[in-house]
């Protein structure tokens, strides 16, 4: 290996930087690498003795885990596109130069800050009871009330709506990206006779594609490990229709004390998430790299 020169200010050793990031090195070992290896090893045991890939075989053949995986994927597939579209649409509105836009920005952002708080999750539960606010509003506009907690499709929607309500954080990333697009691009396009819609597809979208990708990945990861909302709001019911994999892992570990299965399952979840992110990265690769 070639010896390389380190570009540091005069009098600074090449170990200074290493020393500064030493908390991170310890952290990476303790908080990333250790759990990763440890959960794989524990996943090969039944809590005490080695059983090989028995847990994985069990996971892949278990009817309940399969339906829980299906719930998680369905949830992510509904929530993530909805949230991205809503965030982008609102960000586009807020990006127009209007007076007092800051207030709207703050208002839309508040739910994403408070929404993860348990207090708000508890409130959300009340909103969807049989005679709760949402059903009252439905009746007020002449629709028939929905049995939110009794219906397998509706129950998942309670959680989707909660997370959709928290679109503010995604919106703000989009807004920051939109504000970075040079004005000249739009002016040049207008001179060339390019309409609004065309400008959106030919300028706006390509300019923010990296940010779209980051939001897509972050939201997918968050959705795939959803735990708090189904745990507090629906308890996984009715008929397991909201029992996400995150909840399943928790129950395996702390309700049934099956450490092996819980670890194997969480490791599998990591692999699935990594695979999804990789596929997203690959399939959008050409789109993202175009302008370099």
């Amino acid at each position: 290996m070639k010896t390389r020169t380190y570009r540091n200010p005069v009098g600074v050793s090449r170990y200074t930087g290493l020393l500064l990031i030493s908390p991170f090195i310890i952290g990476a070992l303790l908080l990333i690498i250790y759990p990763f290896v440890s959960s794989f090893i524990t996943g090969l045991t039944d809590g005490s003795s080695f059983v090989g890939f028995e847990n994985y075989r069990h996971i892949l053949s278990d009817e309940n885990i399969r339906s829980s995986a299906a719930v998680t994927l369905k949830y992510a597939a509904i929530l993530v596109p909805l949230k991205l579209i809503v965030s982008l649409a609102v960000a586009l509105l807020l990006n127009m130069e209007l007076k007092g836009i800051g207030i709207f920005c703050t208002v839309f952002y508040i739910p994403s800050i408070l929404g993860a708080n348990l207090a708000v999750i508890i409130m959300w539960q009340y909103l969807f009871t049989s005679e709760g606010l949402v059903n009252q509003l439905l009746e007020a506009v002449g629709l028939s009330p929905v049995s939110w907690y009794g219906d397998t499709d509706a129950a998942l929607f309670i959680i989707v709506l909660l997370r959709l309500w928290e679109f503010g954080s995604t919106m703000i990333i989009f807004l920051a990206a939109l504000r970075d697009i040079p004005r000249e691009l739009y002016e040049a396009a207008r001179v060339d006779g390019c309409g609004r819609t065309r400008a959106f597809f030919s300028i706006t979208l390509p300019q923010i594609r990296n940010v779209i990708f980051i939001n897509l990945v972050l939201q997918t990861i968050a959705a795939m490990q959803e735990f708090n909302a189904p745990y507090m709001i629906t308890g996984g019911g009715p008929l397991g229709s909201t029992r996400t994999i995150g909840m399943y892992i928790y129950e395996e570990m702390f309700t049934y004390g099956d450490e092996g299965t819980a670890n194997a399952l969480s490791w599998l979840l990591f692999m699935v998430i990594a695979l999804i992110v990789l596929i997203m990265y690959r399939t959008t690769g050409r789109l993202r790299r175009e302008d370099r």
């Binding site: 380190y6 600074v12 991170f24 250790y34 952002y109 800050i113 348990l118 207090a119 570990m253």
Partner: protein, 275 residues
Amino acid sequence: MKKLLLYLLLTAAAVVMLYPLLWLLGASFKTNEEIFTSAWFMPERLDLSVYGKAWKTVTPYTMGHYFLNTFMIIVPKTAFTVLSSVLVAYGFARFDFPLKKLFYGLLICGMFMPAIVTIMPMYSLWSKLGLLDTYIPLTLPALFAGEGMFVFILIQFFKGIPKEFDEAARIDGCGTLKTLFFVLVPCIKPAVISIAVFTFLWTMNDFLGPLIMIQSVEKYPLSLALRLSVDSTGQGYEQRSVIAMSVIGLIPSVAVFAIAQKKFVSGITAGGLTG
């Protein structure tokens, strides 16, 4: 005309976004019957005694006790997070060292590591060390710059400061750390404050961590105390006292957000930092 329509649309959306929170506030004064029959957020009468009851809680401790517990987690965690993130970001942004690329890659990977994967092994580890049911599992990891996103954002901010600042400080006799704390950190104060605020808000919201690591009611932070109250009231009991507890529980987050709001929203739009 078009502008007016846009304002109307935005206002309508804002009302929809905030109504659930208003309703929550109003519901804390309502009887069970009123909660489930009236969609309007204003209660028929204001009876503040419910808040006294809520403060006492149905558990053996008052909400004050749970607030104290929460702050015993939040204060060290926020301090640790800010300190470690600043040091590590400084190292990455300003120095060259062996294996830098590898560690930088690891930092990015860590950002995408799902919490649910790491929390089981961490539980087993803390359990082996006999540290479950203490605040150490919830606060100590913050010393190790565990939040990759924060480090990543600080690196961008550090890179925005001209290197001449460092050189000038060095000529004036500042060492590596002195340069950091007396010259660079003051330049990126908004970013540092944003990180502290985020850590505060996220820790207020944290539920899975305490749920797994803390077992005795005496040590419960607010989020667990709330869950306990929900569980022990059940259907048919006075819903409003649970709702009032929720409202009280939201006060610190709302206060911190309101104080930091101006810097915060502009800071995040500038730096791309978000929840």
